[in-house]
């Protein structure tokens, strides 16, 4: 069965980011959804409630099978369209997205999906993907442990330390940021500059 959460994520992220750069690729959608899930962790949520998990590919990219299946399903329904390597929302997809945004199970996800998409507005998608590759869980999975599953207890502890530092550095609690663009961009910049690498190495 196709995950309804992943279906909504694919619609929302493609709608928000798809008009920048002519569309969004499968791997970019995977990165943005993983970032959204991490932003929910920053806000204090348990990643289990995201609805599906992420693993890491051989090349160190986050990947959720549910999201890939949801995208295939959205192509069949005609709510997404594929142009070569990128996906875009169709007019009927926009209508469906408007409907799904109103559904209670999706409403709480919007804040995190929107934070992730905002980061993609603020920084180039390739730079965002590259920055997130320095996230402790991805680094650890790729370089040291070769674990397939992301967001395990150790990775969560590592990233939670960074989020605690983010909260302290910004001088505001996650709940005070109604819009998560700012914490997302600050954290990604921190990762892009290589500051977050030592923790993953140590663990």
């Amino acid at each position: 069965m196709i995950s309804p959460q992943a279906t909504f994520d694919a619609l929302e992220l493609t709608g928000a980011v798809g008009d920048i750069g002519g569309g969004v690729t499968l791997s970019e959608l995977q990165v943005l959804d993983y970032l959204a899930c991490l932003l929910s962790v920053y806000a204090g949520a348990d990643p289990q409630i995201w609805g599906f998990g992420f693993s890491v590919t051989d090349t160190g990219a986050p990947f959720a099978r549910e999201l890939a299946e949801a995208i295939d399903g959205l192509l069949v329904t005609g709510w997404l369209v594929r142009y070569e390597r990128v996906y875009r929302l169709t007019p009927s997809g926009e209508i469906e997205l408007g409907f799904q945004r109103g559904l209670a199970p999706n409403r709480w996800r919007l804040r995190y999906l929107s934070g992730s998409a905002s980061a993609a507005v603020s920084m180039p998608l390739p730079a965002l993907s590259d920055a997130l590759a320095h996230e402790p869980g991805l680094r650890r999975a790729l370089e040291y442990v070769r674990r397939r599953r992301l967001l395990d207890a150790t990775s969560l502890e590592l990233v939670s330390r960074q989020f605690a530092a983010l909260t302290e550095g910004l001088g505001r609690n996650p709940a005070d940021h109604e819009d998560l663009m700012v914490p997302a961009v600050v954290w990604l910049t921190y990762l892009a500059r290589g500051h977050g690498s030592s923790g993953a190495r140590a663990a």
């Binding site: 008009d19 750069g21 791997s27 090349t59 990219a61 390597r85 507005v121 590259d130 550095g169």
Partner: protein, 361 residues
């Protein structure tokens, strides 16, 4: 405060997004998003340089705000109508995809900052002199553009590494437009770009890696050699992995020309010439072979990028007068690779990036 918290706090101080949130709150962040999206879409239709009289894009905090008299404006139905804009414009993001545009002299950013989030692009003839910023009541917050793109909000993106390398050579490296690459030159009284600083390869590597990180789509983990060793003793300069594929690119960087000695008070005793570039070919072939051993199921392609800073008759630091013929002599002199380039499909033809002197040709 921990080290990480302090680092995050310092980063936050640098970022315009943080200052917008501090000044305007959640609504300001929402408006900032609309403004940046609009600017990006505008630059998809017209290059930043085409706004030779500058560009200002703003969104009012109050959705119905009209800080400028609509009387002298033109309504555009979307960014697709952007061709109507003159060489300069002030653009309000109205909503529903519509824009309202005024001539550039209608207002200054200071007139708008109390009620709107404002982006400003200042045009200049020299790319290094133009800049963009977010205008705030306390003044302008520069939008950082370390790669030296025409606009940081309109970075080029590429599907192919070859295209990204060609863009880098022509637009960022040739005239040292990239901020980082500008640091590769030894300071010369007239900033003529004749002699390289000591150990220039690290700057070149970082400059190229920055560009690739920002511009190559679906490429993951562009790593510079501090983190990636093909073998313990011989690091490859940059490794690029494409997401969800088995493609790997290895980029080896070499440079040619003269550099300062370690003390910075004279030329180094050596000069890197064609032989140095030839060495790079052999090293690259070796790296590819080692990489195949580690990743036998991957498709690996190697690229040699040679930064060419050769200058004729530059024999000392602070070389004094030098003719344009001597400064530019090597612009058209290709590298003599002799028979060093192997007949292998996994090695791309070497790319020479001629670093131009700052002496009129």
């Amino acid at each position: 405060m921990s080290y990480d918290s302090e680092t995050m706090a310092k980063i936050a101080e640098e970022l315009y997004e943080v200052h917008v949130e501090r000044v305007y709150g959640k609504t300001g962040v929402e408006r900032l998003r609309s403004v940046i999206k609009t600017v990006k879409e505008l630059y998809c239709h017209r290059s930043p340089q085409s706004f030779s009289e500058g560009l200002m894009v703003f969104a009012t905090l109050d959705e119905k705000g009209e800080p400028l008299d609509p009387g002298g404006s033109t309504v555009l139905n979307g960014v697709g109508d952007v061709a109507q804009l003159m060489p300069g414009a002030i653009v309000q993001v109205v909503g529903d995809g519509r824009l309202r545009a005024w001539p550039p002299a209608t207002a200054e950013s200071e007139d708008l900052v109390s009620s709107a989030v404002v982006y400003v692009f200042f045009a200049a003839r020299e790319r290094s002199a133009q800049f963009e910023a977010i205008a705030l009541p306390a003044g302008l917050r520069t939008v950082p553009n370390p790669n030296g793109y025409p606009s940081a909000l309109a970075p080029p993106t590429f599907w192919n590494l070859e295209d990204a390398l060609d863009y880098y050579a022509a637009n960022l490296a040739a005239r040292s437009t990239c901020e980082r690459l500008r640091e590769v030159w030894a300071l010369d009284a007239d900033d003529r770009r004749l002699v390289l600083r000591n150990c220039p390869e690290q700057v070149m590597r970082e400059s190229l890696a920055r560009h690739l990180r920002s511009s190559v789509r679906d490429a993951k983990l562009v790593r510079v050699n501090e983190e990636q060793n093909v073998s313990e003793t011989e690091p490859i300069d940059i490794q690029i992995v494409w997401s969800l594929t088995t493609h790997i690119a290895l980029v080896e960087i070499k440079w040619m020309g003269k550099c300062l000695n370690e003390g910075g008070d004279g030329l180094a005793s050596y000069t890197h010439s064609d032989g140095r570039a030839r060495e790079g070919v052999g090293q690259l072939a070796n790296y590819i072979d080692l990489a195949y051993e580690r990743s036998p199921k991957h498709e690996i392609v190697g690229y040699l990028v040679v930064f060419d800073a050769r200058r004729r008759r530059v024999t000392r630091w602070e070389p004094g007068p030098i003719s344009k013929e001597d400064a530019w002599h090597y612009a058209r002199v290709e590298i003599d690779f002799r028979d060093s380039i192997p007949d292998r499909r996994d090695i791309q033809p070497p790319r020479r990036v001629f670093l131009e002197p700052r002496i009129a040709a």
